[in-house]
Structures are given as structure tokens and as C-alpha cells.
């Protein structure tokens, strides 16, 4: 077993870190404060090939692997978790399933512009009545000649309103339950497809989270992704990959908070000594560093599994569960070590703690990850 990165992965990390430091970090606080989608930053990411890292070059991507992609989400999320999730939702939840399940035409018309950075993608499964219980989807798709007519609504959709291409899930045969669910590709601007309310969130406040509304929205029959009735398994398979992206985001948040806190405790003095001279601080830093390192190994292992194994649900679930809970714990402790200052927006750990919470919730709550892991062990 060799824990050394290859030269290309090392250089990729240097690139992501330098880019994030120069182009992402300076705007992180502003993006949070204004709740504005960081369009300028996303345009730079698109221009520099950061929006299709694991997709083969023939489909507009960079032809790298999942590990490189994960390093990107991690380094960006260290400075700005909002930007991290925009990349993750676009890549893992939109590019990936079109690459995996799409027809040659769909890869040409939808994947190429997404992976090359011309267009932004989104994924819409959740509905008011279908969260963790994704089988509760009520959106309908009815075939009418050469078109499907979509009716229903989706909520909490990341990159909502900002994206150009959406993967949505709707029932084509309600009598069959989850086996009657199918996946579709819908383009922004299609008549009958509009946006509802924008969510006001605790964290990742610059990511645009919207309700999608479909009223007699007609899309070409050829926009069905995968076979009819395969929607639920496509959604679950896609989320396995998405969880690795979110795990990397959570890892980045934890690392960012820890880095900030190490710098802070060295310069902040109380009782005439820097905080770093107190054993309480030293032990807290040690515990956090060990957990971050463990999360890192799980995240990288899950990325490696995605590239080398057919199934990687358990690796993805473990990585997301552990990295998300580590992010929450570490950011909370980091705020504590900052004392009163940590509770103010003057210090980044305050934002990081708010950003961390969502990683325990979206793309499968921590409870869902535990179900996936134990389900595999106990069946």
C-alpha cells in the first residue's frame, strides 16, 4: 500500500490551492454576506477546466479522475464551501449521470457543453413529499406523441435558476412505485418550466437554492435519461458519486477551519500566553487534526473506489458520514477556540460552522449513510 500522491495529483493540488487562494478566498465572506451566486468565480472555474475534471476529453472534460476532482472540491471548499458545492452538484450530479447513462446524442448535446464549461448543470430529485424517502416523488411525466409532458415541482435544488441543464426525476408509471420513476434532461427556457421561491439558508448562502416548477412542460421524448422506469436506480447511483463530492466539501471545510484556528491560537494571548500554550488548546488541535486526517483517507479511498470498482456505495457513505460529522465537530470546536470573536462574522470559522451543517443533511443525511453502511453489513 502506497499513500503517496502521483506527480500529477500533487501538481493538481498545487493548482487548485493556488487558484482557490487567489480567485475564491477573497470573495468567500462577501458571497456569504450578500447571498449572491458567485458568477464571476464560476466563469473562471469554467474557463480553467474545473467544471468537467473527471469527464473524458472526448466529451468536453479534462480526462482526469475522481481523485483529482475530489482534490479540487476540497481545496476550493477550504476557502468557500458555497463554491465547492456548485462544482460538486454540477459535476457529480449532472455531468456524471449523463456520461454514465446518456445516449451518444445526449453526451454530444448536453454533456459536452457542461463538461467544457459553457453550461452549468443541476440535479432535481427532492420534492416537498420526497426527501430521504425519495420514493415519494409525485412529479409526473406523460408521453404524448414524441414528447413527455412534465407536471410537478422540485425543492431545495442547488444551482437552481443559475443552471442551464437539469436532470429531473418524474413518475412515468405511478402504479409501479419507484420502478415507475424515470430520469429526464430538461433545459432552462423550456416553456412550462419556471422557478419558485429561493431558499434563505443557514450556510452555503451563495449557492442558489430554488424551487423548480413544471406546468405542462413539454420535452422531447429523446430527453429521457436511461431506460424508462430506471429513474430511481439512476438517482441512487448518481448520489453515490455525489456523496464523494460532498464528503470532499466537508473535508475542505474542516481543514479550512483548522488552518484558521491554528493560526489564531498562536497569536491570540490570554493570561500573558498564546492560546497555543494551553494544554486544552493543544489537545483540541490534536484531536481535530487526527479526525481530519482520517476523513481525508476515507474521502480519497472513496474516490479511488469510484475509479476502480463497479460499486462504491459503502465507501461513499462512510466517507460522507465521517467527513460531514468531522466538519461539524471541528468547526464547532474551532469557534469555541476563537471565543467571542469566533461568534462574529469577522472570523471565517463562524461561516464555516454554518456551512458545515448542510453536509450532514444533503445528498443523504448522516442517518441515510448509516442505513447504507449497516444495510450492507447486516443483509
Amino acid at each position: 500500500m502506497d499513500f503517496k500522491f502521483s506527480s500529477e495529483h500533487q501538481m493538481a493540488r498545487t493548482l487548485f490551492s493556488e487558484f482557490a487562494e487567489n480567485e475564491v478566498k477573497p470573495y468567500a465572506a462577501e458571497v456569504d454576506e450578500t447571498e449572491e451566486f458567485p458568477r464571476g468565480t464560476i466563469a473562471k472555474l469554467q474557463k480553467n477546466g474545473f467544471m468537467g475534471i473527471p469527464i473524458p476529453r472526448e466529451f468536453g472534460g479534462q480526462g482526469c479522475d475522481s481523485l483529482t476532482y475530489v482534490l479540487c472540491v476540497e481545496e476550493i471548499s477550504k476557502r468557500c464551501a458555497t463554491t465547492g458545492v456548485i462544482i460538486s452538484a454540477h459535476t457529480s450530479l449532472c455531468c456524471d449521470p449523463i456520461y454514465k447513462y446518456g445516449t451518444a446524442d445526449q453526451r454530444e448535446f448536453f454533456l459536452k457543453p457542461l463538461a467544457s464549461g459553457e453550461k452549468l448543470g443541476a440535479f432535481a430529485l427532492t420534492e416537498p413529499g420526497a426527501g430521504t424517502d425519495a420514493g415519494g416523488v409525485a412529479t409526473r411525466a406523460v408521453l404524448d406523441g414524441e414528447e413527455y409532458i412534465i407536471n410537478g415541482s422540485k425543492i431545495f435544488i442547488t444551482n437552481g435558476k443559475e443552471a442551464d441543464i437539469y436532470i429531473i426525476f418524474a413518475l412515468t408509471d405511478p402504479s409501479k412505485g419507484t420502478k415507475g420513476m424515470s430520469a429526464f434532461i430538461v433545459e432552462k427556457g423550456t416553456p412550462g418550466f419556471t422557478f419558485g421561491t429561493k431558499e434563505k439558508k443557514m450556510g452555503i448562502r451563495g449557492s442558489s437554492t430554488y424551487e423548480l416548477i413544471f406546468r405542462d412542460c413539454r420535452i422531447p421524448r429523446t430527453n429521457m435519461l436511461g431506460a424508462e422506469g430506471k429513474g430511481f436506480s439512476i438517482a441512487m447511483g448518481t448520489l453515490d458519486g455525489g456523496r464523494i463530492g460532498i464528503a470532499a466539501q466537508a473535508l475542505g471545510i474542516a481543514e479550512g477551519a483548522l488552518e484558521n484556528t491554528i493560526a489564531y491560537v498562536k497569536q491570540r494571548k490570554q493570561f500573558s500566553r498564546p492560546l497555543s500554550a494551553f494544554q486544552n488548546t493543544q489537545f483540541a488541535i490534536a484531536d481535530m487534526a487526527a479526525k481530519v486526517e482520517a476523513a481525508k483517507l476515507l474521502v480519497y479511498k472513496a474516490a479511488y473506489a469510484k475509479d476502480t470498482q463497479k460499486r462504491y456505495s459503502v465507501e461513499a457513505a462512510m466517507a460522507k458520514l465521517f467527513a460531514a460529522e468531522t466538519a461539524m465537530e471541528v468547526t464547532t470546536k474551532c469557534v469555541q477556540l476563537h471565543g467571542g470573536y469566533g461568534y462574529t462574522r469577522e472570523y471565517a470559522v463562524e461561516r464555516m460552522m454554518r456551512d458545515a451543517k448542510i453536509t450532514e443533511i444533503y445528498e443523504g443525511t448522516s442517518e441515510v449513510q448509516r442505513m447504507v453502511i449497516s444495510g450492507n453489513l447486516l443483509n
Binding site: 506527480s7 493548482l15 487558484f19 480553467n48 475534471i53 476529453r57 479534462q62 480526462g63
Partner: protein
């Protein structure tokens, strides 16, 4: 189509370098290596010419095996080929031996423009580029802040301390670049993968470089560094707190005392 050679040096990131106060030598341990900033500007200038007019960009570096990394970086930014001039026989070279060696290596490649950086941040001599032009027998335009390709020539804006000079130079020529020339592009992730997995860094050792023994390595170096030492740290200075006008008067008085004004 134009042929452009870009000379690149791998240097320690001087933001993180310290001198050993006892020996006067650089402490390189644990210091990250980077592409010399002026050279990176030269590479970016070459890549912009390639984007606009089409060109083959070849990156050349002289150094130990580790210098492979800066050439891969150049490939990941968009250079087409990379050459590493590396041999113990070239070690210990001063600017004369360095410029003789690299010029000999460059003479093996087709070129319309040769870019070097103005100077390397670890040596700050600014001699290697102009010396290379002499060895190659081509005109040299140093301190380039702006470059335009016009027909068979370049229009170069040269930066001086208190003035500019705009010159027109016929290709082939050598240009030394300033960081002010441009803002270098980032590598792309796919570019990095291709730099390591598809492209090659051609290594040229002593027999591959047509240069006389008397002009290479330590023995071919007419100059020696006698001693390096860090600047003496100045005292803390004097801190006074006054209102703005009184501060200005105070400073003016001090400057007058020392005959500065």
C-alpha cells in the same frame, strides 16, 4: 508558423528562503520550488502568440533532475515540447557557462523568438538572457513589458526606471520578459495529466549539447561567488504619535537634519 523557445529556471520560492547566517548559503531544505516568475511571464507571452497566430512553443531548462517539474508545469500551461539540459558536467556554472550551455542547446531547436526572464529570483543577475543572444548571434531586447507581433518583427515596449523605450526588432531575436508583461494563465487539470501521461521531457546530457568544454560547469566559469550574507537587520526605528500636521513637520525636520532634503 512561428517557433518559440522559452527558457525556464526552477528556483526556490524566495518568499520562504532564508540564508544560513553562519555559512552565508541558502537554506533550501523544505523550501518549495517554483517556476521563476519572469520566466513564467515569458512563457505566457509565448502562449499568447501561439493562441493568436499559431506557434510551436518549446520550453528549455537547465538544472538537476528535479527541474523536470517546472517543465511539466510549462507543458500543463500549454507548451508543446520540453527539454531538460542536465548533466553533472554543467554543474557549478556561473552566468557565462550557463548562457554558453543553454545557447548551445537552443541552437539545436528552430526558433523565431527566444524568451527568457529578465532575471531569476535566486541570483538576480539578469545576465543569462543577453549573453545567450550574443552566443546565438541574434538581437536582444531586454525588460519587455509589452510585445506585439507585426509581420516578421516584434514591437517591444521596454521598461526602465523612469522611462519607456519602444523598439521594433526583426525575428529571430531574444526577448527578456518582466512579470509586468502579463498575468500568466493557470495550468488546466487536463493539461497536468497530459503533461505527465502523454508528453515527454527530453533530457539532453553533455554529449547532446554542442558546446566547448572550456565554457561549461565550474571550470568554464570565470566568476566565483566569494561570500553571501544577509542584509544586516536595522534597528526598530523611532515611533512617534502626533497629529498629522505635526507628524509631517517632525519627519521633514528629521530629513533636513540628515541632509536628505
Amino acid at each position: 508558423m512561428l517557433n518559440i523557445v522559452v527558457c525556464i529556471k526552477q528556483v526556490p520560492d524566495t518568499n520562504e528562503v532564508r540564508l544560513d547566517p553562519k555559512t552565508g548559503t541558502l537554506i533550501r531544505e523544505g523550501v518549495p520550488s517554483i517556476m521563476n516568475p519572469d520566466d513564467k511571464a515569458g512563457l505566457e507571452a509565448a502562449l499568447r502568440i501561439k493562441d493568436e497566430f499559431g506557434a510551436t512553443v518549446r520550453a528549455v531548462s537547465m538544472g538537476p533532475a528535479q527541474a523536470d517539474a517546472v517543465l511539466r508545469e510549462a507543458l500543463a500551461m500549454g507548451a508543446d515540447e520540453a527539454y531538460l539540459v542536465s548533466d553533472r558536467a554543467f554543474g557549478g556554472a556561473d552566468t557565462w557557462a550557463t548562457s554558453s550551455t543553454i545557447a548551445a542547446a537552443v541552437s539545436k531547436l528552430p526558433y523565431d523568438i527566444v524568451f527568457t526572464g529578465r532575471q531569476a529570483i535566486d541570483g538576480d543577475t539578469a545576465q543569462v538572457g543577453p549573453q545567450m543572444a550574443e552566443h546565438l548571434g541574434i538581437p536582444n531586447v531586454s525588460y519587455a513589458e509589452e510585445i506585439r507581433v507585426v509581420g516578421d518583427s516584434l514591437i517591444v515596449k521596454r521598461q526602465f526606471e523612469n522611462s519607456y523605450q519602444v523598439v521594433r526588432v526583426k525575428m529571430p531575436c531574444l526577448v527578456t520578459a518582466l512579470t509586468e508583461l502579463n498575468r500568466p494563465r493557470y495550468m488546466t487539470p487536463g493539461g497536468i495529466f497530459s503533461a505527465y501521461r502523454e508528453k515527454q521531457v527530453t533530457v539532453w546530457t553533455r554529449p547532446d549539447v554542442p558546446v566547448d568544454d572550456s565554457n561549461i560547469g565550474l571550470k568554464g566559469s570565470p566568476t566565483r561567488v566569494k561570500e553571501s550574507f544577509p542584509k544586516a537587520v536595522k534597528g526598530k526605528g523611532e515611533v512617534v504619535t502626533l497629529d498629522a500636521e505635526a507628524e509631517a513637520d517632525y519627519i521633514a525636520e528629521k530629513l533636513r537634519e540628515r541632509f536628505v532634503i
